[in-house]
Subunit: 301 residues, 2 copies
């Protein structure tokens, strides 16, 4: 998995930061997560191929997470897109995008499929043989979901050295890869496990923004490789969390610790703070493995 941060700051516009948007590359997919204003320019800046984006996940309908979507949908048309685009987001997203396109008399020439969400339980949004995507119900001022991307276990791979050792003929290799036992030169049955290697551990990524501290997400994101959790504030501004429904860096770290994740990635910083390092320092008091997202930063999971 490769995660590219296109924007990770909260709403106040600035010339050198961008609102929330990320691209997750996994199992031959390019998933776009949130789409704040200016996302299409950020996609250009980081040379993301527009046509490879087939699924867009929108956490909630605040402007800094979705006002870039109508422009991107329009641009896909301008670029002559033909393949399907799936948009997953809160109920109302279809009406909004449809109205804006209709007003500009510029409906798409490619199939645009909306998947509107209103469940308060975690639900499966997308699945193929290699990966699945589900919602993580969050709690913010409006209906909000995070998203959990989970690779599925790959099949075991052929252990070519062991296959040679048992003098197994090449003609059996495909069957063995599919789970069959092997037959050695002298007719002995060699169990599949002896001549294959375990697959790499499937990776998982959880995106959680925007949200107040919410322990009920812990079972959903348990043991993920990377958790992006918003940290709009530092502890000194914790009193603002209840009203604005945001979290502190420390609270993000508490969630990471309880969920036993591998890496915590912080983001959605309020623009009031002078240095991002303050967020890392605060979080590391609770949880050691903390990364700071920043616009243009790439994480390899």
């Amino acid at each position: 998995m490769k995660l590219t941060i296109l924007g990770c700051y909260s709403a106040t516009p600035r010339t050198f930061t961008n609102p929330t948007s990320q691209v997750l590359e996994a199992k031959n997919h390019l998933f776009l997560i949130d789409c704040g204003e200016g996302t299409q320019v950020q996609l250009r800046r980081y040379k993301v191929k527009f046509s490879r984006i087939k699924h867009i996940f929108i956490s909630h309908l605040h402007g800094d997470h979705f006002f870039g979507l109508p422009g991107l949908v329009s641009t896909f048309r301008l670029l002559g897109r033909e393949n399907e685009l799936h948009i997953y987001g809160p109920k109302g997203i279809k009406e909004a995008v449809t109205l804006l396109l209709k007003l500009g008399d510029s409906w798409t020439n490619y199939p645009l499929v909306f998947h509107e969400l209103d469940s308060k339980e975690s639900e499966l949004l997308f699945e193929d043989e290699k990966i699945s995507v589900r919602t993580i119900p969050l709690e913010h001022r409006v209906y909000t979901n995070g998203f959990l991307f989970q690779e599925k276990p790959a099949p075991r791979t052929l252990d070519i050295e062991m296959a040679r050792k048992f003098e197994i003929d090449k003609s059996q290799f495909n069957k063995i890869k599919n789970g069959a036992d092997g037959l050695s030169k002298n007719g002995e049955v060699i169990s599949n496990k002896q001549i294959t290697l375990p697959p790499p551990k499937p990776k998982s990524y959880a995106f959680c923004s925007d949200t107040v501290y919410k322990e009920s997400i812990v079972p959903i994101i348990k043991n993920v490789d990377a958790l992006y959790h918003e940290s709009t504030f530092l502890e000194t501004e914790e009193h603002l969390c209840a009203k604005t429904k945001h979290s502190t860096a420390k609270q993000a770290a508490q969630i990471a610790k309880k969920a036993n994740v591998d890496t915590l990635i912080l983001g959605h910083y309020s623009t009031r703070y002078k240095s991002l390092e303050l967020f890392r320092e605060e979080a590391q008091q609770v949880f050691p493995n903390v990364e700071l997202s920043d616009d243009g930063k790439i994480f390899s999971l």
Copy 2:
């Protein structure tokens, strides 16, 4: 009048150009004209004070002219705006902005007044004692207006040298500024014209984008100091104008010539061309005084 170009390129997103938006400073107003995606960041970049914008004019509802509007309206709220904001644009603009704010449960805390347009005739949109704004009906793929900003003649100013020459007492100066004749030391009546100077010529600016070549705008924009006229294409692509309802640089120049404007400012360039100078060269074959708009460029009229 001071015109700041925030963006002047057509819709294709690029990292180094912006879609249409301009700020016109005139008679103590900051008028925002069109609001493509990213306009709020451009406003920040060029240090335009957000709170001074009280009137926004939207030519038409294509994304590259208005997808920055919902974000800007939301940001005004975030910045604690209290004074009225007037938005002038095609019918439907109210529904669009209102829906997006409603979905984010973030209605404004300042008075937001929509003035929806659907007339095909030029109409007065705004007027005070010093300036007026009217529509310029254009022809594009959707309902579109340009905007004409016209200063009103200022009163004549006191000619202090002549007033001294006629030995007119200071106590009369305010009356004279308001049009009264003066009385010299020896009781002679001095006509107002003798002791005042003519005011500077009122300035005018016409914004015309997007539009196909349309001669019927000529009487409306006659003799303006500056005409911004779109030139999406060069003459080599003139065959695209009928379908896309855009103009060439040469056509823009023909309109400028017929309207006897002082300066023609070109813009809304298609991103297919290597150099903007090609637009100037083509236009100057028809009309001499041609300027090229570019993002961040300022014109003093």
